[in-house]
């Protein structure tokens, strides 16, 4: 058992992190908030970098890697709040021509009835007839509701990759909180020296690291029950982490300018995918009787 990232996996993660930092750093994020349209050039770059075809076998022109690698890549995308129907396009890479290259943008009618990025999509998978636009809580994720969609079991791979994005958020908001807690001074010292603040940060890390173990293990086993567990842990780590990060930022945390609000709102959107966590809880409950 070597349940640690391999050298190749570390290199992949660092490579993706570097590409995203160059192509979608803090300024690009703010620009995207001001003009939330899909950046087609970025989409093609992601395609060229193998983001969508990562799990497509080499024989069919893909990168030929597996779920653990996809999880690492989606975690990085989650960290930087990369916008767009990443998951839907990734899942369509072997099915919809052009998706793998990032030439064709794919949207998906989620089992819970939500559709992300419907209007920007070239191809829509699932029945989106009569879809109604929502005023999306996340400024970077346009949402529609498809009335015709019937609730069905969520695809475990979609659940796992969503959990990976949540893990990225959980890790990032912990970093942001710690940075702020080191720099901001009150009562003549960094607020991070106060236990009330320190303990919020420690709990953020504990939730993120527990979720990390669950998400990575689920990527290795691909077991639906492991995936359900990973999802619950990662949702909690992202949502609670983002809330606590707002708290650590004080008044600044409640402003539009502060990056944290975007993480919280994206975490909420992802937590609704597949209809929310209840399905996972039920699956895990039934597993106890097995």
């Amino acid at each position: 058992m070597r349940f640690q990232l391999t050298g190749d996996q570390l290199a992949l993660r660092d490579g993706v992190r570097a590409v995203l930092a160059r192509r979608f750093g803090g300024e690009a994020l703010r620009a995207a908030v001001d003009d939330p349209r899909l950046d087609r050039a970025l989409w093609r770059e992601l395609g060229a970098a193998g983001f969508f075809s990562l799990r497509v076998p080499e024989a069919r022109g893909g990168v030929g890697l597996g779920l653990p690698e996809a999880v690492l890549v989606f975690e990085e995308a989650g960290r930087v709040l990369l916008p767009g129907p990443l998951l839907a396009t990734h899942l369509a890479a072997d099915v919809v021509p052009g998706a793998a290259e990032g030439e064709v943008v794919v949207a998906d009618v989620d089992p819970g009835g939500l559709v992300e990025w419907l209007e920007e999509a070239d191809v829509v998978r699932g029945d989106a007839t009569g879809a109604v636009a929502l005023k999306s809580v996340d400024p970077l994720t346009p949402l529609h509701r498809a009335p015709g969609a019937h609730a069905r079991a969520a695809d475990p791979v979609a659940v796992l990759l969503t959990a990976a994005e949540q893990l990225g958020t959980a890790t990032r908001v912990c970093e942001l909180a710690v940075q702020h807690a080191r720099a901001r001074e009150q009562f003549g010292q960094p607020i991070g020296a106060f236990q009330a603040v320190k303990h919020l940060c420690a709990q953020m890390l504990v939730r993120a690291e527990t979720a990390r173990a669950a998400v990575y293990a689920a990527a290795v086993t691909a077991d639906p029950v492991d995936i359900a567990a990973a999802r619950l842990l990662a949702d909690e780590a992202a949502e609670r982490g983002a809330r606590d990060c707002v708290q650590v930022h004080g008044g600044m945390g409640f402003t539009w300018e502060c990056e944290v609000q975007l993480h919280l709102k994206r975490a909420w959107v992802r937590a609704r995918r597949g209809g929310g966590g209840a399905e996972s809880e039920e699956l895990l409950a039934v597993d106890l009787l097995a």
């Binding site: 349940f3 990973a230 106890l288 009787l289």
Partner: protein
């Protein structure tokens, strides 16, 4: 990243499993929880069986993964817990192995492994708990002996212990972390008085230990004089790093029993309770993965458990309390009956966020040592 065991590890697991199936039925009946001499005999008897079968060393010399397999298999098979052997096998033993002289290792380690001697941990004092380095028990040098006076508290298994890993102040003038030494004190020495304390669960798990001019040979000091704090940190990293592996397995078993009980008594139809059990399943699965992650990290770094132990302890101690709260929900009115299984467990789970460093102290450790936040008030 993989979760597969090597063929050697799988072979170890298979051999152990086979041995357990033969050995466990030969165990004598379990003593009552209040019968400490009986528990001592039972726990040491089990350690002796492990010794004879060649498994006694597993806590010390085996690779972290082998140890993980050992704890997983023994717990799954329902084998006895280390029990009274806890401090010897998991703290004092590893500390002496790492920091002791060859003579000290020869004197103390074999009896621990053979299940002949029980150790207890004399760290905490009435005025030095979380602030352990504030301890005041004094050791004055007199010829070849230290003369020790003071008192210790919350000392688990003190009534049945042969030895105590004792922290004493050998230089009162030095800064508080610098004047401490680590001694092996025989519990039979004149001047040692043990007074059992009753826990909220009604049992006598721990005791107060009074020390009045107790003579301990200087040769019983492990590590240099006044270097005891560093030696202690070695002990504590063992305490937090690896102590709970078997318990996670046990919690997962309890969770399965809870679900089956709920199905029998009708509580399973309550969707809120059912989902709560589902969420706990996620929690303990994740804790098991975190254990495997930490074990792999320890293996990569040469075996000494790292701060991952604090992250684990924080999450686990709270999850354990939630587990037994959920058990109370499943039991309903029966949860107020001490005769019911799980009720004592629920009570004793309260100690997990206190013993071995409180959750507040663990959060300080995580924040300062992992996240690099400034030390403060």
């Amino acid at each position: 990243m993989d979760l597969a065991y090597t063929p050697e590890e799988e072979e170890f697991r298979a051999r152990l499993r086979e041995w357990l199936a033969k050995a466990l039925p030969t165990l004598p009946p379990k003593p009552s929880p209040q019968d400490w001499p009986g528990r001592r005999a039972y726990d040491l008897g089990w350690q002796r069986m492990l010794y004879d079968a060649g498994y006694a060393h597993v806590h010390w010399d085996a690779s972290p993964t082998t140890r993980l397999i050992f704890l997983e298999e023994t717990e799954t098979a329902g084998a006895p817990y280390v029990g009274a052997g806890f401090v010897g096998l998991l703290h004092a033993g590893p500390t002496i192995a790492a920091e002791g002289t060859p003579e000290q290792r020869e004197r103390w380690l074999p009896p621990i492994l053979r299940g002949e001697e029980v150790w207890c941990q004399g760290f905490s004092e009435p005025d030095a708990g979380s602030d352990l380095a504030a301890l005041r028990t004094r050791a004055r040098r007199d010829g070849d002996d230290y003369v020790v006076t003071g008192s210790k508290i919350w000392t688990s298994h003190a009534e049945v212990a042969d030895w105590c890993e004792l922290l004493v102040r050998t230089d009162p003038a030095a800064p508080k972390h610098r004047g401490i030494s680590w001694l092996a004190m025989p519990m039979s020495a004149p001047g040692v008085v043990v007074r059992p304390l009753r826990t909220l669960a009604g049992s006598a798990e721990f005791a107060e230990v009074f020390l009045d001019e107790v003579r301990v040979p200087v040769a019983n000091r492990v590590g240099e004089e006044n270097d005891g704090w560093r030696v202690t940190m070695v002990t504590l990293s063992f305490e937090r790093g690896t102590a709970f592996v078997g318990e996670v397995v046990a919690c997962r078993r309890v969770l399965g029993e809870l679900a089956r009980t709920a199905r029998e008594n009708g509580r399973w139809d309550d969707a809120v309770l059912r989902r709560r059990l589902g969420r706990l399943n996620a929690e303990f699965r994740a804790l098991w993965r975190l254990t495997q992650w930490n074990v792999s990290a320890a293996e990569a770094s040469g075996g000494v458990p790292g701060v991952g132990g604090s992250v684990f302890k924080l999450r686990y101690s709270h999850a354990r309390q939630e587990l037994f709260d959920a058990a109370a929900e499943v039991l309903g009115a029966e949860s107020l009956d001490l005769e019911q299984s799980w009720v004592l467990e629920r009570l004793s789970s309260l100690s997990y966020t206190i013993a071995a460093g409180t959750s507040q102290i663990q959060r300080n450790i995580v924040a300062e040592r992992v996240l690099g936040l400034p030390k403060g008030r």
